[in-house]
Subunit: 333 residues, 2 copies
Amino acid sequence: MAKRITMAHGDGGEQAHQLIQDLFVEQFAHHKEATLDAAILTLPTEKIAMSTDSFVVNPIFFPGGNIGKLAVAGTVNDIAVSGAKPLYLTCGFILEEGFLISDLEKIVTSMVEEAQKNQVKIVAGDTKVVERGKCDGLYINTTGIGLIEKENELKYDFQVGDCVLVNGNVGDHGIAILTARGELGLMNDVQSDCASLFGFIQTLQEAGITIRIMRDATRGGLATTLVEICEDFSITMELDEEQIPVDDRVHGSCELLGYEPMYLANEGKCIFVVPQEQCEKALEIMKSHPLGQHASKIGEVIHTEQGRLLLKTVFGSSRRLSRLSGMLLPRIC
Amino acid sequence: MAKRITMAHGDGGEQAHQLIQDLFVEQFAHHKEATLDAAILTLPTEKIAMSTDSFVVNPIFFPGGNIGKLAVAGTVNDIAVSGAKPLYLTCGFILEEGFLISDLEKIVTSMVEEAQKNQVKIVAGDTKVVERGKCDGLYINTTGIGLIEKENELKYDFQVGDCVLVNGNVGDHGIAILTARGELGLMNDVQSDCASLFGFIQTLQEAGITIRIMRDATRGGLATTLVEICEDFSITMELDEEQIPVDDRVHGSCELLGYEPMYLANEGKCIFVVPQEQCEKALEIMKSHPLGQHASKIGEVIHTEQGRLLLKTVFGSSRRLSRLSGMLLPRIC
């Protein structure tokens, strides 16, 4: 195989064919599907969730993961938080001429590993090559579908007193990426929390926890995701700042930069709203799972109207939170 | 709305929210889906086709279309040639900082128009922004699913004597794009053939034509697509060079550049293999459809083994064709 990506890898001809055969068909085990324009899939039920995400994270390798792991985990998570069981993924690569094929192999290997962890299959792919300087190494789109099983369907039937939980420390991914860029003078060993949450969510569902809503807190962080939930469903939540779990190193970096951890991106953190009476049980289950050791109850639903997110600060005052604005943390995923 | 894309349009915060609300939610009519991480879809049957494609065409506006029309038509075609009825699409945008929002609006409008023509719905989307110089205006991924109806399922049961048909002139898209780039000194008014073929295919299916296989001849052109069919199904076809329809202007440009039209990209051309006894009927139906006026029988299946593509040239000799190689026509789609 060639060492670097050339324009000929993107022309649909012989070299493109070789790359696809040697790398993607082999790794994604597409031997049958590769002969068709589309993957043919049989679904055991009729209601599905479908989600798409493009990944442009910079740098593409970072502490705790790489763009490939992120691309699979990210779409798996979007499907899982919709109450569905992720089943099939497609992936579209946009590659820059000159990109190291050995790096591409590492990325593809991570995608396969992450897909296997979730028992999802990558069933169709596409590869485009653009000239040097028209992309930043590679960008990946993953699109997935999942099955919605009746018992796991989300009802969004919020009640005053519902508890807002998060499965661990917020802001790790954001700080890991900013540190890996080396631009802001940050020095720390924070790892991205990049992880697929499907198994974790399944554990809660199987234990009979009623989930009103769940949403992974990626771009825009915990606060932006919660503002969106409040607005979309016209409910008001109050967060307790003291209860928001933040790693000390992330806290330190944020103090240095003037950032708030609750606006930093996560890639393995999910917000769950559960009935008050199930709060303790849910927390206990979370904490006994590797992805929920630092789980915390961070707030409550205080009205089922108005659509506002309030924060009770460590000083005891209360303020309204809005979406992330003007923080300019691009290419975090 | 802002005039140009800024990095803040990609950070998941307030401005990103505004762009998504004002442009995508509005145009794609996502009012309900926009509140969820994934679109929730109900399928009336269980067997589906799923396909993904990223579009990096340069230039993004070209005679006969733009990247948005192409992105919808391209994925619709991949699903349709699998024997499925396209139903739902997702789209992922990677936007370059500074990209004109008025251009983005034109592109989105084309996507909506093309989706409506095919009665497909764009059900989920994603937007990323990269810094100036890290992308070439915009790249679009579209991923789609379609239903496979039993009566339209492809059987791939080739017979010696089966006819190979194409629905019109080949190479128009390739020449239109190369001309639009203005690099090769080409001067002509060739339009891209960019079109969704689902309706056309449906007309053939409804008339009872048995389609052994169909495949849209995009990157790599007619010849590469046919080589792949021959190899994938171990059949041998012989093409008749004289019967391959080529527009005079495309022919002229190819002579100038030393290209072969059958290796140039198409975006509205499909190869159909049909039983010998249905060949005339199929051709008649094609020719009476706006997308098949120049349809032609271009060859036959001569063995159901070997996996080779042969060309009977205008001089009466015969040669074996291989995949496109070394022609370097990148970013044609």
